[in-house]
């Protein structure tokens, strides 16, 4: 859990959450999550029928990868809220970096809550996820 005496507004925590994303990892996510949309695993369907340049990651895989950075930072079972917008697609070969920024630290109902801004960018510095989170601190 975050220690309120050791964090400040403006602090950031950044991690590379995936390097050179493989199609196999996307397939792994399809199997674990149960979302078998062929857009994520079926190159022939995705390119020939729908017209995308290749398969691409589930938004929820990008969010899951982003969540890994977040839980590494705020600790296990400390999240109160976590929300994102998917602003660009994530493609095989992408390397993603996720960053959390402390926006505010507040007391509410006897708890210390930390508001975080979340952003995940790819190797070309294009933002693929923007979002926010609220974590419990002690």
């Amino acid at each position: 859990m975050l220690d309120k005496t050791k964090i400040n507004v403006g602090d950031t925590h950044s991690e590379v959450v995936v390097e050179d994303l493989k199609r196999t990892q996307i397939v792994q996510y399809a199997g674990a999550s149960g979302d078998y949309n062929p857009l994520h695993s079926d190159e022939i369907f995705t390119t020939k029928v729908v017209g995308y340049p290749s398969v691409f990651a589930h938004g929820m895989l990008s969010m899951g990868l982003t969540g890994k950075m977040l839980t590494n930072y705020v600790g296990d079972a400390s999240l109160k809220k976590f929300g994102v917008r998917f602003t660009n697609q994530v493609w095989p070969g992408d390397t993603l970096t996720s960053t959390a920024t402390v926006m505010s630290i507040r007391e509410e109902d006897g708890e210390t809550l930390v508001d975080l801004n979340i952003e995940t960018t790819n190797q070309d510095d294009i933002t693929v996820i923007t979002g926010s989170a609220v974590a419990l601190a002690k």
Binding site: F45, G64, K81, F86, Q89
Partner: protein, 168 residues
């Protein structure tokens, strides 16, 4: 159990954590987890998304009753032709994309829980975009309650139907 109930199992949590590349032992190692402040294995924050596995009618899973599947087989799409539509037959279902996802956590999800999801439709709205034509957004709110009826996770999803594939 209702027909969409999600029994939370350790092996499923481990597989899910692996799929998001998360090596945190709180997701698979009993010894580590039981000795931790959290007290047991828990699920990662986005895990309830896998409740799709437990929906017998989930539309993004090939069915076992031979009803067909729109992904490629012998042909680029396995969807049966029923007139034509823009984007190709079978493309329609695939034009839905995930625009936003929000979770509120009331307590951690743990193995042994049986979560019952209840989904209600939320707001809908439209927007024009240069990259994908007309966008139709729709929100759904899913409350996951445990075996005691207590709220565990609230998940708010926003889907978008695009007029054409998103240009990059």
């Amino acid at each position: 159990m209702s027909k969409k109930d999600m029994p939370i199992e350790k092996s499923h949590i481990m597989m899910f954590a692996r799929s998001i590349g998360d090596p945190n032992p709180i997701y698979y190692d009993d010894d580590h987890a039981n000795d931790s402040e959290v007290g047991s294995i828990i699920a990662p924050p986005t895990f309830t998304q896998a409740s799709a596995q437990f929906d017998p009618d989930y539309f993004l899973r090939p069915k076992i009753d031979g009803k067909g599947w729109f992904g490629s087989g012998k042909e680029p799409t396995g969807a049966k032709k029923e007139g034509s539509s823009s984007g190709g037959d079978g493309g329609g279902a695939a034009m839905g994309l995930h625009a936003e996802q929000h979770f509120e956590y009331h307590r951690p999800v743990r193995p042994g829980d049986i979560l019952t999801p209840e989904t209600k439709p939320g707001k809908t709205w439209e927007k024009d975009s240069k990259r994908a034509g007309k966008l139709k957004f729709s929100e759904s709110v899913t409350e996951f309650r445990d075996q005691n009826g207590e709220l565990v996770v609230t998940a708010i999803g926003v889907g978008v139907q695009t007029e054409k594939p998103v240009e990059n």
